[in-house]
């Protein structure tokens, strides 16, 4: 990444931005490796591929960690483990683009509040992966909700919160063992109430204008840093400026926590002032007010179905937000920002579909499933590897007991790279976090 940043001019990046091509960091590399699993076929299910029409009574074949074949007429080779999918549904593994699992862990004891480096307005130097506790039981609960990939973000207490990381939701002793191989980094930014509310007494920003001043100051420093790098001049490596320079050079995707429409418009102007691309606005409860602008600018939105009112900047949230964005052609995603909601992102999608239906314009299952699978994969720069069901992609899939947009749907089986990590037929075999292992209360009643 350092080399690449030296070669690319800021103006070039705006045109040629392509996070999927970013080179991985050398430091703290992923050690994730795909475990061996028997070739498996799910036969006779309704399959939502996130790439096209639902495939009825179809078969999906998994081998060597990849999807090898998919369709109604797939022949199952001998020696394949066969799972009856009749009456059931298959979707890609769910991707949550806004999670704090592992950085705000359960149990939520004070020493485990590791998601917000609340020591200043600009903590772009911190990396969420250095806070992640792989034993957070929230990971396994999310797996049981069908979540196979997560973007773990630092919190929103400061203007520049630090780097996010994309992980596979696999049991692992180390976070390196979860890191999604070759996934680009992200950076968390936050506008609005949070940076103001959390600013330590006597520190800035104290106001929203202080927020904007802080963003601009940060990027001015980063421009100078990047300039020196491009010229090959020697300078002391600065991790804060590395992250900000990565934003300017397009190697690092921006995830901007922002609720209000007017503030998103300010952030769009900020991005033009400094020539960086906004990857996605997160939360964005007022995105519906500027849906056409977001579509024109090519800015993605990650939001909830209808969470609202928990603070003034979320007071204008409406249940039709997601549908309005979809209709306007915005790249739309549902996120959780919660250890509880992450377990039912499929129902968040159903609620957003229901709002569209109430307005008299149905959104199809085929479109809705992308909000929680392919669309976040695209924004995270991993859509060539996961996020939809197609031959050659990672076998990250969920077998649902029923229509995944039903409240009664249970993720019966979840596969990550072809390995069954959830099996409702044998829940005792599902990997538990070390934390819950052997807890007397759990074994108290059978």
């Amino acid at each position: 990444m350092i080399v690449r940043a030296c070669l690319l001019g800021v103006s070039m990046v705006i045109v040629g931005w392509s996070p999927a091509l970013a080179t991985p960091e050398d430091a703290y590399p992923s050690t994730y490796s795909v475990q061996a699993a028997p070739p498996t076929a799910i036969v006779g299910a309704s399959i939502l591929t996130a790439e096209g029409p639902v495939l009825q009574k179809a078969t999906i074949l998994l081998s060597n960690g990849k999807i090898s074949e998919i369709g109604p007429g797939v022949e199952v080779p001998p020696g394949t483990r066969i799972i009856d999918g009749a009456g059931k549904w298959v979707t890609p593994g769910i991707i949550d683009i806004h999670s704090h699992l592992g950085v705000f862990s359960s149990p939520g004891v004070p020493s485990m509040r590791n998601g917000n480096e609340k020591t200043g307005k600009n903590t772009a130097e911190v990396w969420a992966e250095h806070s992640i506790w792989p034993q957070d039981p929230g990971f396994e609960m999310a797996r049981r909700g069908g979540v196979t990939t997560l973007a773990i973000l630092p919190g929103s207490a400061n203007l520049f919160g630090g780097r996010s990381v994309t992980i596979k939701n696999v049991p692992s002793v180390s976070v390196q063992g979860m890191k999604f191989p070759d996934a680009p980094y992200g950076a968390k930014m936050a506008c609005g109430e949070n940076p103001i509310v959390y600013a330590a007494r006597g520190n800035d920003p104290f106001t929203r204008m202080g927020n904007m001043a802080g963003f601009r100051a940060g990027f001015i420093d980063a421009q100078a840093y990047l300039e020196k790098k491009k010229k090959g001049e020697s300078q002391k490596q600065d991790h804060r400026l590395e992250t900000l320079a990565g934003i300017l050079s397009g190697d690092i995707t921006t995830h901007i926590h922002c609720y209000r429409a007017d503030e998103m418009m300010q952030m769009i102007d900020l991005s033009k002032e400094f020539g960086f691309r906004i990857g996605a606005f997160h939360h964005a409860t007022e995105a519906y007010k500027i849906a056409d602008t977001l579509a024109e600018e090519g800015i993605a939105i990650a939001t909830w179905a209808d969470r609202w009112g928990f603070k003034l900047e979320a007071y204008d949230a409406v249940p039709l937000n997601v549908a309005a964005l979809e209709w306007a052609g915005v790249h739309t995603m549902l996120h959780s920002d919660s250890a509880v909601l992450v377990q039912r992102l499929n129902l968040e999608a159903a609620m957003a579909m229901a709002s569209a239906q109430r307005a008299g314009e149905d959104i199809s299952r085929e479109d809705a499933i992308r909000w929680i699978t392919l669309n976040p994969a695209v924004t995270l720069g991993i859509a060539d590897k996961t996020g939809s069901l197609a031959p050659g992609k990672m076998a990250d899939i969920v077998l649902w007991s029923a229509d995944p947009f039903s409240v009664y749907a249970i993720a019966e089986k979840v596969f990550i790279d072809g390995v069954m990590v959830v099996n409702r037929d044998d829940p005792a075999a599902d990997p538990d976090s070390d934390f819950l292992l052997g807890q007397p209360v759990i074994g108290a009643v059978k």
């Binding site: 849906a291 009112g309 009643v445």
Partner: protein, 424 residues
Amino acid sequence: MMHRSVILVVALAGLAVSAFAEPIVLRGARIMTADTAGTIEGGTILIDKGRIVAVGRDVHIPAGATVVDVAGKTITPGFIATDSVIGMVEISGGSDASETSSRIGRISAGYDVQYAINPFSATIPVARKGGVTRAIVMPNPGADNATFSGQAAILSLVDGATAEVIPQVGIIWDMRTSAYGRGATFVQLRADLQDVRRFARDPALLAKGELGSREWSQADLEALVPISKGTKPLAVRVNRASDILTLIDIAASEKIRLILVGAAEGWVVADQIARAGVPVVIDPSDNLPGNFDEIGATSDNAAKLHAAGVQLILRGGSAAHDAGKVRLFAGLAIARGVPTEAALRAVTVTPARVWGMSDFGALAPGQIADLAIWSGDPFEPMTELNALYIGGEAQSLSSRQDALERRYIPAARASASIAKPEQE
């Protein structure tokens, strides 16, 4: 599908004015009664003077009644959101638009949520759109580490300027373990109840300074008298199995009516809870060990409690803004093994009865006509609410959110003009 529901909404909106003038007949629906009749296919409900007169397949339709064809629809009792702060909170975070607890230590048990409720809160119409007709409004822990948080109320979500509140239906007690320690807080609770009992016999003891468990205010003591007599319930927020057993023990020896709220580890001691006849309020999505009091939290809690015979109340959707999602939480419980009828009762008749209310919560003769008419399975997110009645009157299903949607989203404007041509 869309067209039919629109017709129904228009028909029912026209009925609102004349609701009390003549009987209303809702004919041809699937009726989930939450009562002994169970679910009635192709049933009819007769409503007169705000109450249900008859429910069944062969209901006599009186002359002059307005008959609404609701064939293909499902009717449930209006849902009751338990442990909500609806009406007390406009926005939650760091603002003066949120009061959920007493701010002075001197009024704790006597803290009365009825005065904090704003009937014009924008949260109330949003909750109605989830089929919610009533809410058990419960205060949060207040100032000075008070263990008694105050008196709950039942709020009717009826559309109007005056809050229809049934006040003082019970009291909330919080353990405050971090301030007190378990070894002190339960001892304090017993001592407090002793004082209240002595006060009930002789109120002059307060002035004489002979009630020594704490520095009492008269308001707190008076509020607690019905608790000490077992005529109103004491609801306790508790998660750990051992604490639940302690509370069951205290309730038995002090002869108080206990309600357990939270009860993440309730399943571990489900048999003891069932034997004690103590109702439990749980959030079926509560499956994470948020702290060391709920290491045993599990999605199976609701089903295991029900299987043990525990009287179940389901809650879900924290704060005021998500009260309308309680139906989805009931659905989550069903998905994890609670029978549909039990989940329905857990969000309708059970909370009503547990909080001492006998005249609403079920679809049965004599009950107040609080009911919701759905396009299908009421627990499915894709199901639409077609109409909501409180006390026999059709309620507005329009919220501030709808107004925002109409201002900014073309499809919302279009569907609004179809639904209510006379208003556009």
